[in-house]
């Protein structure tokens, strides 16, 4: 059952992205920003946590999930560290993903070269 909900919710979030791409003139970078920011805001309002509990990876793997992690990190850290938590929490929660993307991405860029499209 978990898998079904992950599939449905995850797929649905992607469909929203596709509709944004096809119906508006938004470019992919803008869409990524919109998704991350809206994920963070929904989390701040307490609306995203229920979706994550319900759909698991279906809500955390799409980019709003990245915003969710950032906001959740900041909110959790504030409880312990106060103001410093707001500065530290977001990145701390997402550090592994971002660092992996930077380091592995850099390595890949050193190894491979772009090929012309056909």
């Amino acid at each position: 059952m978990d898998y079904l909900w992950a599939f449905l919710i995850g797929g649905l979030i992607c469909v929203i992205g596709q509709l944004l791409m096809d119906f508006t003139k938004l470019t992919p970078p803008r869409i990524l920003v919109i998704f991350v920011v809206s994920g963070a805001i929904l989390t701040g309002l307490g609306l995203y946590q229920p979706i994550v509990d319900f759909a698991k990876s279906g809500a955390t793997v799409p980019l709003p999930g990245f915003g969710y992690l950032l906001a959740k990190g900041a909110m959790d850290a504030v409880k312990i560290d106060g103001f410093m938590g707001a500065l530290v929490g977001g990145l701390k929660e997402t550090a592994a993903g971002i660092t992996a993307a930077i380091v592995f991405g850099y390595i890949i860029a050193l190894i491979f070269s772009p090929k012309p499209l056909r």
Binding site: Y3, C14, G17, K56, V61, A74
Partner: protein, 158 residues
């Protein structure tokens, strides 16, 4: 004088709008339904695979949080590897938002400019361009997270 200029600007804007409408009848629409369907299936599948791997890790005794992080790292690295061997753009042309909206799209948006600008050097080329597309995402996401953190701090105190 200023009023005349403003009026002219207004006229130009209206003409542009009319022309845009006129142009629209010559422009084929994207295949809304099939694009959305492909995005749904591919995006959903990526989430299912992520959940499956996460469950595997948890069955090995990993804590849920660590398992989720490990899955993210795996998704990021595989998307970047696919970008490196030149498959990701073909997949994205087919699946659209199905691979762009999941964390895979974020990973691709970092590695693709870094590869592209390799010839401009490893520091100011790849090193700097790694963030041309992903930078805005990080800047906006982190800024919002800090604001949310501060708001929560104020609410909980008050």
């Amino acid at each position: 004088m200023a009023k005349k200029k403003k009026q002219k600007e207004q006229e130009r804007k209206e003409q542009a709008k009319a022309y845009e409408k006129y142009v629209k009848q010559f422009t084929p629409n994207p295949k809304y339904f099939s694009n959305a369907f492909k995005a749904f299936v591919v995006g959903g599948l990526i989430c299912v695979i992520a959940l499956y791997i996460q469950n595997l890790f948890m069955a090995q005794g990993m804590v849920k949080k660590d398992a989720a992080t490990a899955v993210t790292v795996i998704l990021v690295c595989s998307a970047q590897l696919l970008t490196g061997i030149g498959w990701f753009d073909s997949i994205a042309r087919f699946a659209g938002a199905g691979v762009i909206v999941p964390i895979t799209g974020f990973a691709n948006s970092m590695v693709s400019p870094a590869m592209e600008f390799k010839k401009e050097g490893l520091v100011l080329g790849s090193g700097a361009k790694l963030f041309t597309l992903a930078g805005p995402v990080l800047v906006c996401g982190i800024s919002v997270s800090v604001i949310i953190g501060i708001i929560h701090l104020l609410i909980n105190k008050g």
